[in-house]
Symmetry: C2
Subunit: 165 residues, 2 copies
């Protein structure tokens, strides 16, 4: 291993920690965030449990718990090469789509709760009107998010085409 490679490894590791930290700042649990960051930095987008444990210096138990969460929310998929006992975790291509979709669901819940509030206060009160407008804001966001996904797909196509030229 050359010195240059060592420096690179260090830089990559530092990126994994920083990006993991940012993701956990946005609400994702710490371990899943770090694992996702680690997967992002692999060429294949795949990593075994042991590799994850080694890379992030965590116990197999921690890996187990975190990947269970990540598979549940469809951020990674679990695979196993035939004839092997090792699980391999693959980052799904549509992670950001999934993440956006999940935020969108949250907006739906906010809408529900705000509707309760509007009912409780009535739109004839100032507070009720404020709640009504707040709800409209979140409904607006909901609509925006939906169309944003479409726009991203288009933007991505164009961007990739530009990059290759």
């Amino acid at each position: 291993m050359t010195r240059v490679t060592q420096r690179d490894q260090q830089a990559v590791s530092q990126f994994v920690e920083r990006f993991g930290a940012i993701l956990s700042d946005t609400g994702m649990a710490r371990m899943p965030a770090r694992i996702l960051a680690a997967l992002l930095t692999t060429d294949s987008g795949k990593l075994t449990s042991a590799e994850i444990a080694d890379l992030l210096q965590i116990s197999p138990a921690a890996v187990s718990g975190a990947v269970r969460y990540l598979t549940q929310v469809r951020i990674v998929s679990r695979e196993r090469e035939p004839g092997s006992r090792r699980d391999v975790y693959r980052m799904r291509d549509d992670v950001w789509y999934e993440a956006t979709f999940r935020k969108d669901q949250m907006l739906g819940m906010i809408d529900e709760v705000l509707s309760e509030g509007v009912t409780a206060l009535g739109t004839h009160t100032d507070a009720g009107a404020r709640l009504d407008e707040t709800r409209e804001f979140f409904r607006f966001c909901h609509g925006e998010l939906g169309s944003m996904i479409e726009r991203w797909k288009a933007h991505r196509e164009k961007w990739i085409a530009d990059r290759e030229s």
Copy 2:
């Protein structure tokens, strides 16, 4: 106080708790979230420390800490009626704008960190290319968020006009 009013109070209180809980699910600390929810349900959008403490059944110390946070992130403003020793906290009209703006800043930080990663890996590697695309996604979101604020302003005007007719 009539029975109907009592029921309303209960419904409002329930809304405050539910909406506070949702806000804290999205990352905001519990107390600030509850206080914001409480302010939303007042006609004037204003509340004194004592009122907040009473409404949410929390100590003055908890109020103090939470409103300090809320004023720092510009969600509420502190006022004091001349000749009074009571602080009054007012919900700012542009809370949702501020919240969106703050998310936007987060996107900027993500961009920075991802750029480090792209540098560390180089765009000629598969991982580097993936990071590059990820960064492009967040940059796209950044742009979308910016224009979304404008669109919301326009949408709001129209919505208010419609509501009044």
